[in-house]
Symmetry: C2
Subunit: 337 residues, 2 copies
């Protein structure tokens, strides 16, 4: 069955599914707990709205993949909600771990309710992610639900391993380029791979096709993260929503930096001099560029995206959802924010 | 099939199952993450050993219930490991939330590895709890696994709600006695109820019997927590492992305190005078006793335990596991530490 794609219908059905899931914890004793979750999701509190909630990119991949594999995306909604809840659990905890005060221009959960409650709000969101996935049982046999759970839980373990590496790297002065990939595989690619695999699973395609969709999501996840690192240095602050000095000022071990450190030339020497202020940034960027980091990073995004698109072509995604999936992958390659 | 009970065999099979689950995350990049988990479980690091790991009470209830319902407890091992991992996830996060430096006489995970890594270690433990439960699929049909997941996830949500209340109560000067029960229902009783229910499920008894075992675990969980509150004031520090002044010094809203606050007599007046030092403790305890808090708390433990035992009798637990289950419930009523 090839459906005509209506992204607006998808997004509003997704929001309804997310809200239904979070509302399931409601009782008279835990109103503020629910408030922490609805605030974080962007539905309530100061400056609420679509901007505050983020792009819902991961669930969109679930729904598009389901439809592109000939499935009924409405039956994939519990899985779509699940991956978005899992992503947001990780954001709530990430903000505590990074001591970030702002997310999408709004105070983070821990800034508003304190660290203790924010840890617990993240834990609740994590539980709801698992809970939501069980709702697939409305539409699918138990075996399919268990397969979906297995995919999500593998991704969750990868996510926590990636997070572990990311936190560990903060205390290391220099890293090899090789150390980058296991970290972003876990932090970003594993969940996107789970999204596209679960999407394919909900269309009940065979395991080989599911595996290809997993690989497609995985490569796209890597490309997404590398593009993020690129924008962190060469992006337009007006479009990315954050200063393009902050990654260098905070000495973030992003891909361009690790590439240039391995060159062990001017950039590496400058990097080793210690902490930076704004006046160092143009020099650092010039060194990165002259040593090939700009080109390397750009090429990596292209290579990864092209490899992902090649795999997508093999599995012949169907109809308007198939076209949308291809377009979305290309758009991520060129995104400015 | 009625099995002869060998608790030592149960405990060593459980440890093996727990270790197998945690080892599943092992790879060359995340050795220290695994170390945080094995340290917390009491298997490695300073002062490791049985003491360091805790009593493994929750999984023991899973295994005993399974056997007492005529099941093969070995098939319940993945569920037993799962509840213990879930419990330990909550302890790792709880220690951060309470800023506790010591657990079972050893530095807590956050004290050793910092808050950021400890949050993530807890998240990993939580994921492994979910993962472990899926291993029931080795022995049971998909439907049974999904039922077990649903039970565990409901308990997880109750757990986070209880934790939310507990953290909220810290900032409230006075609470009604009514506020106590939803908090301990979530924090303690919900998981013990899930343990006995899942144990019964793995013996494939019908839902009515499962429901009774759920209720049995729930009541016992409440009794366990009330006994804990009792020991926090009238316990022997040498047996409980913590000073019996600390609950009053930290102004913990335990059941005896909430009971006496509702009396609104001498204890309540003294309580409202502000922070305490060691010299206030005998006066506070004397007031608690003269206003009936000792008796009330003791009676509550007895009532709850008797109600639990009454339900257990109804379902006629079998064989030596059945006897052990009854004995364990009675032992918890009288425990000194």
């Amino acid at each position: 069955m090839v459906q005509v794609l209506n992204p607006e219908e998808m997004f509003s059905a997704l929001e309804a599914e997310l809200q239904r899931t979070i509302k399931s914890i409601r009782d008279q004793d835990s109103e503020s707990l629910e408030e922490m979750l609805t605030y974080h999701m962007g539905w309530e509190g100061e400056a609420f709205g679509t901007e505050a909630g983020g792009k819902r990119l991961r669930p969109y991949f679930v729904l598009l993949t389901s439809a592109a594999c000939g499935g009924d995306w409405k039956r994939a909604l519990p899985a779509a909600a699940s991956v978005e809840l899992l992503h947001n659990f990780s954001l709530i905890h990430d903000d505590i771990q990074d001591q970030s005060s702002l997310r999408r221009g709004r105070p983070t959960v821990w800034k508003k309710w304190g660290i203790a409650q924010a840890i617990n709000a993240g834990d609740t969101m994590f539980t709801l992610a698992q809970f939501s996935l069980l709702d697939l049982h409305k539409y699918f046999a138990s075996d399919v639900v268990i397969q979906a759970l297995r995919i999500l839980q593998k991704a969750s373990i990868q996510l926590t391993k990636g997070q572990y590496l990311d936190i560990s790297y903060e205390n290391v002065d220099e890293l090899s380029l090789d150390a980058y990939w296991p970290m972003v595989s876990g932090k970003t690619a594993a969940l996107l791979a789970a999204c596209t695999q679960i999407g394919a699973l909900t269309a009940l395609v065979d395991e080989t096709i599911q595996g290809k969709y997993h690989r497609f999501g995985y490569l796209l996840g890597l490309a997404f993260q590398v593009r993020d690192d690129f924008l962190g240095i060469w992006g337009d602050a007006a479009l990315t929503g954050k200063s393009n000095e902050s990654d260098l000022l905070s000495r973030k071990k992003s891909l361009p930096v690790l590439f240039a450190l391995e060159k062990n030339a001017e950039f590496a020497k400058y990097w080793r001099t210690g902490t930076f202020s704004s006046k160092d940034i143009p020099i650092l960027i010039e060194n990165l560029e002259s040593e090939g980091a700009y080109q390397y990073t750009t090429r990596k995004v292209e290579e990864l995206t092209l490899e992902a698109l090649g795999i997508l072509e093999e599995v012949q995604p169907q109809g308007s959802a198939g076209i949308a999936l291809t377009e979305l992958a290309k758009k991520l390659l060129k995104r400015q924010g």
